[in-house]
Symmetry: C2
Subunit: 356 residues, 2 copies
């Protein structure tokens, strides 16, 4: 059964720097805990893992923000750690503490034991979710698939969970770079297979989340993070249902490296809120589109102040195509849905002036 034709393709056009009548808008973690309907289904699911690995539930969560706000994209509800989980590291979530692995990977022997997960078997629940979302979306807006970057996955796999100082994974980087390269290479191949499977299942754009690239030095970022993201971009089948599938790279805290990220082959770069979009645009030239970058905390302001902040972001990017409005990082849990509505309305109302 073929999917319904796409009615709103603003996101795909903006990601390819094609003209659009206004700036498309979606935002990171748009399906999540700030929504009461999410908290309700999360409670019903019993656990986060059950919620994200049950296609019916993950599909419902993906669509929740679409039913509240006039967004221009849906993003697959999943977790960035699905690949390490499929590799058998024993993923679990401790309430209030985030993800944790029972069997972290800390030496060459442990890296040697890891296999390449087959997406259609070991990650089938994700692909079934993608297929279901596409069916339920009935062509309203495109669906974005995603994965964690190899470096970011390696951070969690080596540390065994979240970290502040990254002592273990950076210890490996400085002491045994060859071991870390072996792990990153395996992860890059896994992520490429996984994203290609998401594209084959119906993802119309894909995004690589490099949440922890920003903790590296410039030279380590190029060697241990960007290089493997580039490997993935090179391996992606960037076409589906007759359209190009754009690729977005996002390194949080990676503002210093936008020029080299712009030469990775990606179509668009995510920009966090610490950067000026005007600077970013000047630095990357006409090579790539830019996605961002309202400070998520700006959503604590009253609606008229949110509108001003949206205007500042639009102004900072300036006129012409190639901007996708987003937050500079995931929405914060204590954000009010009404504030999100004010942000999305402001983008709809104010952005056409930048596309004349």
């Amino acid at each position: 059964m073929s999917n319904a034709p796409l009615k709103n393709d603003l996101l795909l056009r903006a990601l390819l720097r094609e003209p659009t009548p206004r700036t498309p808008v979606w935002f990171m973690r748009q399906a999540g805990r700030y929504l009461p309907e999410y908290r309700e289904i999360r409670a019903r699911a019993g656990s986060f893992i059950n919620l994200m690995s049950t296609p019916d539930l993950a599909c419902e969560v993906t669509l929740q923000p679409m039913n509240r706000f006039p967004l221009d994209a849906a993003i697959l509800f999943s977790d960035i750690l699905t690949i390490p989980a499929a590799m058998g590291l024993g993923l679990h979530f401790v309430e209030g503490e985030g993800p944790s692995f029972e069997r972290p990977v800390r030496d060459t022997a442990a890296v040697g034991k890891l296999g390449l997960p087959d997406p259609e078997t070991e990650l089938r629940y994700v692909l079934d979710t993608v297929r279901l979302i596409r069916r339920e979306l009935t062509g309203r807006v495109p669906l974005i698939g995603f994965a964690g970057s190899p470096w970011t996955l390696a951070c969690y796999m080596v540390e065994g969970g979240a970290s502040k100082e990254f002592a273990l994974v950076k210890g490996l980087l400085y002491r045994e770079p060859a071991t870390l390269h072996k792990l990153l290479d395996l992860l890059a191949r896994s992520v490429a297979l996984y994203l290609n499977a998401q594209i084959a299942a119906g993802a119309q754009a894909v995004m690589l989340f490099d949440t922890w690239g920003g903790v590296l030095t410039s030279s380590a970022y190029r060697e241990f993070s960007l290089r493997y993201m580039k490997d993935i971009v090179d391996q992606l089948k960037r076409e589906n249902e007759g359209r190009r599938v754009p690729v977005i790279l996002f390194t949080k805290g990676g503002g210093a490296w936008l020029e080299s990220m712009g030469q990775s082959g990606a179509d668009a770069l995510g920009v966090d809120w610490t950067q000026d979009l005007s600077d970013a645009r000047r630095r990357v030239g006409n090579k790539v589109a830019l996605q961002g970058n309202l400070d998520p905390a700006a959503l604590y302001a009253p609606p008229d102040r949110i509108r001003e902040e949206v205007q500042k972001v639009l102004d900072s990017y300036g006129h012409g195509p190639g901007h996708i409005f987003n937050l500079g990082h995931g929405i914060q849990i204590s954000t009010k849905p009404e504030s999100v509505a004010a942000m999305v309305a402001a983008v709809h109302e104010l952005s056409p002036a930048y596309h004349k």
Copy 2:
């Protein structure tokens, strides 16, 4: 009683961009938990607060790394939250969780109740420590005094402790900027008084730690952090014992804003490890010296690898005066003292070539 004349003034000369025969070296948190002798005295003191507020003990801790490594500066052992503590917020430290305030400051009424602490009475223990350290140092190397930046102090005061998302202080920033400005103005005046008192007591250089400036947008950084650091710099009495007292600004994650930091009137900027010193130097020109920026995690490498990383930092800054070798952030707790020795030795050995 006057202090002994300064025997090693490499730090002071480098901070003022004057020629030196080699690059001076010290590092953030050089007196701290990675040293077994620190853990011993910390256990003896009973609590961190007792340790830092007892001049004899704080002086001993300050001198510990000086007795192990040939460093070119001592830095006052204290806490960045001494001012809010003196304002009566009820500072305490929860083991493994960091600082916490019993009475956080979250509205105009709470800000209105805050007074300006008098350094020579309410913060006398810090000044007594400065005087004692100067006596005990007998002119070996200069002593650096320090304070937290107004924005960084406000983060802790509003959040009530450490934070990941800064929802409360940023909420105030976006909802009630006037209240936040009132708090920041009071803090800027307090910090200026406090640093001037440290200088009068014998501090030979001072550093402002803006640990959380990097969580702001560019425009908010200028308005809520840099502006108040500049106010402080303008108010400092920058001379003592016949020599200029240099001022160092350090905003962690502030790499995007080095140009404007360079125009603050500070003599030197701290640079974190995510920036290339070569880029930083090109961007700030000849206005200010640069301090940094080895990745603290590089100290997990074996000695020969540490030497290579030190060489990279020296190479990145290049030839000529105006570089102070440091880590890009505080040393990590699990670092081996032998690794620090290897770093310091490498700076002594390799840096003269950059000053010919």
